[in-house]
């Protein structure tokens, strides 16, 4: 049995999500290999080889792979994946985009968002927006799965001694090409990996008002998130969204500000260690799951909180 993990990276650094997926792979037993596909991604391959538990890194380094398009990565996974018992990727937008395409090429029914690994073929995954947990057993020869990274401990990014093997990157695809991107630039920690997350909802009221959330976040070294309502209202970009269809977070401390607590939002943060809710409506559903609730006007509470920390 051996496991292939699809690395998440930007050609320069290995994203922390990969460390959690390697952590999940350790629960399966067997050798762990990592596929690093990209352009000028040698440093990423070296970093992956140093991760605890990794015995081999497959490096596909080719200029057309720079943006890791699904049409290029899925055939690579198809070709390399045949030699493995399991293929894992994080349940990030990249993993969600690429892995089902590879699974179909392998004629495998993928298992999405795995949160518990019982054994090599039995897994738990949330369904119905996390309102039910299904235990599923796969009869496919190769198990292809995305992993919810917040449910598995990250391995150390040192101590490993994997070998880096260069593989042929397939001929670049002619179906799709990269045309541009608008990435949010932030000095704050990554939302899915932050120890503290501060999220704002519709109650924050405007794009300008979001500055008070950001100020508090900076004081605490926290990441900033948002509810779908706040994103839809244009207060913050889409990549701030925490929830069922946005990002899943599980920090030590989650502070929900002006968020009522729709099921959709709760699905993305209810595994946080400590949840604080600040809302003017004492009946808001968010208080039903918050460890500490404070009812009141956020425009008074947040500056006071920031000042006193």
């Amino acid at each position: 049995m051996s496991i292939l993990v699809l690395a998440e990276h930007d050609n320069k650094t290995l994203r922390p999500a990969t460390l959690n997926v390697i952590g999940a792979a350790k629960n399966l037993g067997g050798e762990i290999h990592v596929l690093v596909a990209g352009a000028a991604c040698g440093a990423v391959a070296e970093a992956a080889a140093k991760c605890e538990g990794v015995t081999k890194v497959l490096k596909a380094d080719n200029a057309p792979l720079e943006h890791q398009l699904a049409e290029d990565i899925a055939p690579l996974l198809h070709e390399q994946g045949k030699n493995y018992s399991h293929i894992l990727a994080p349940a990030t937008t990249h993993g969600k985009n690429v892995l089902p395409r590879a699974a179909a090429l392998l004629d495998v029914q993928q298992i999405s968002d795995v949160i518990v690994i019982h054994d090599a073929e039995t897994f738990d995954r949330p369904v119905y927006a996390g309102n039910a947990i299904a235990t599923v057993k796969s009869s496919d020869k190769i198990k292809v799965m995305t992993v919810r990274t917040t449910n598995f401990d990250a391995v150390k990014n040192s101590g490993g001694s994997g070998v880096v093997e260069t593989i042929n990157a397939a001929t670049p695809n002619t179906l799709s090409s990269f045309a541009g991107q608008e990435l949010s630039k932030s000095e704050r920690p990554e939302l899915t990996a932050a120890k503290i997350v501060i999220s704002g909802g519709r109650g924050v009221g405007s794009k300008e008002n979001f500055a008070i959330i950001e100020k508090l976040a900076d004081k605490l070294g926290a990441a900033v998130g948002a509810s779908r309502a706040a994103v839809d209202a244009g207060y913050v970009p889409n990549d701030y969204q925490v929830g069922q269809t946005g990002k899943i977070v599980a920090p030590n401390l989650y502070i929900a500000i002006g968020i009522s607590g729709a099921i959709q939002h709760l699905a993305g943060m209810k595994d946080s260690k400590i949840i604080v809710a600040i809302n003017k409506d004492g009946e808001a559903p968010i208080f039903g799951i918050a460890d500490y609730g404070l009812v009141g006007d956020l425009f008074q509470i947040i500056p006071e909180l920031e000042g006193k920390l």
């Binding site: 943006h67 699904a70 049409e71 899925a74 990030t92 937008t93 969600k96 985009n97 892995l99 089902p100 395409r101 699974a103 179909a104 090429l105 495998v108 029914q109 993928q110 999405s112 968002d113 949330p126 369904v127 119905y128 927006a129 996390g130 309102n131 039910a132 947990i133 299904a134 235990t135 599923v136 009869s139 002619t174 179906l175 799709s176 990269f178 045309a179 541009g180 991107q181 608008e182 990435l183 949010s184 899915t192 779908r228 994103v231 839809d232 970009p237 889409n238 069922q244 269809t245 209810k270 260690k273 400590i274 208080f287 799951i289 918050a290 460890d291 500490y292 609730g293 404070l294 909180l305």
Partner: protein
């Protein structure tokens, strides 16, 4: 340009989900069912393309029970031209027709209908797999534009803006292609009564899965379905000072 829009009948997003006491699945008896919200966005997008003169025909297809005709009619009330029901009594949420099987059936339909574009929801709110569009694109050898928040049609190609973890990414895709919709692609309209009436008369074809000649046997066995561990609410504090004290000395997270 011909557009195929696959839609799914799922539990209405406002309904409280109840897990069956025998752990076999989610109780759907006498529960309000609706079109999967992401699919509604897909129908709306296809209809707007037709209204904008970019598309000539919008075909809507569903795989599900006889009652899924309701969702086809809803799509036709929004503006789809005709419907195809692939009738099956197998569950479509868990332990029945899985995404790979759906993708295979859709592939067979694509080969028959020859659309230039397939627009579908990025995931259904029942099994939450987020796989079918990507799988269909793979099986057809078509490019994919997943989690789309903007779609521009140019001659022979598409520009798709995608919602990704770091922000937005734009891809250029050759047609034919598969697009999966994210929440912010558009806001679906409410169908007006005359359109609802008109939809009742639009053509609808019913076929059996066997007519599509693909193997749809499930690959996953549902061992059990349970409710998640409930998180208990805590306490309400009265002041900011009390909150800071609790976070520092009780929860020890600051």
């Amino acid at each position: 340009m011909k557009i195929l829009v696959p839609v799914k009948r799922v539990i209405d997003f406002n309904v409280k989900v109840r897990v069956k006491t025998d752990g076999s699945g989610v109780d759907l008896a006498n529960v309000k069912m609706s079109m999967n919200p992401f699919d509604e966005i897909a129908v709306e997008e296809a209809v707007r393309l037709k209204e904008g003169g970019k598309a000539t025909e919008v075909i809507v297809v569903t795989i599900g029970p006889a009652k899924a005709e309701e969702q086809l009619r809803t799509a036709m009330a929004i503006g789809a031209d005709r419907g195809i029901l692939v009738k099956t009594d197998a569950p479509t949420d868990l332990g029945g027709v899985e995404p790979l099987a759906v993708a295979k059936m859709l592939k067979a339909l694509v080969e028959k209908e020859k659309p230039d574009l397939v627009i579908m929801g990025k995931q259904s709110i029942d099994d939450d797999s987020n796989q079918t569009g990507q799988m269909l694109a793979a099986l057809l050898g078509w490019p994919q534009g997943t989690f789309a928040s903007k779609l521009d049609i140019e001659s022979g190609s598409l520009k798709v803006t995608r919602e990704v973890d770091g922000g937005l990414e734009t891809l250029s895709l050759k047609t034919p292609a598969v697009i999966t919709t994210d929440l912010r692609l558009n806001e679906p309209r409410y169908a007006k009564l005359p359109d609802i009436m008109k939809a009742k008369k639009k053509p609808m074809e019913t076929i059996e899965p066997s007519a599509l000649g693909v193997d749809i046997a499930p690959r996953l066995t549902i061992v059990k379905v349970v409710e998640p561990a409930k998180r208990k609410g805590g306490i309400k504090v009265k002041t900011v000072d009390e909150l800071i004290d609790k976070l520092k000395n009780e929860a020890k997270v600051l």
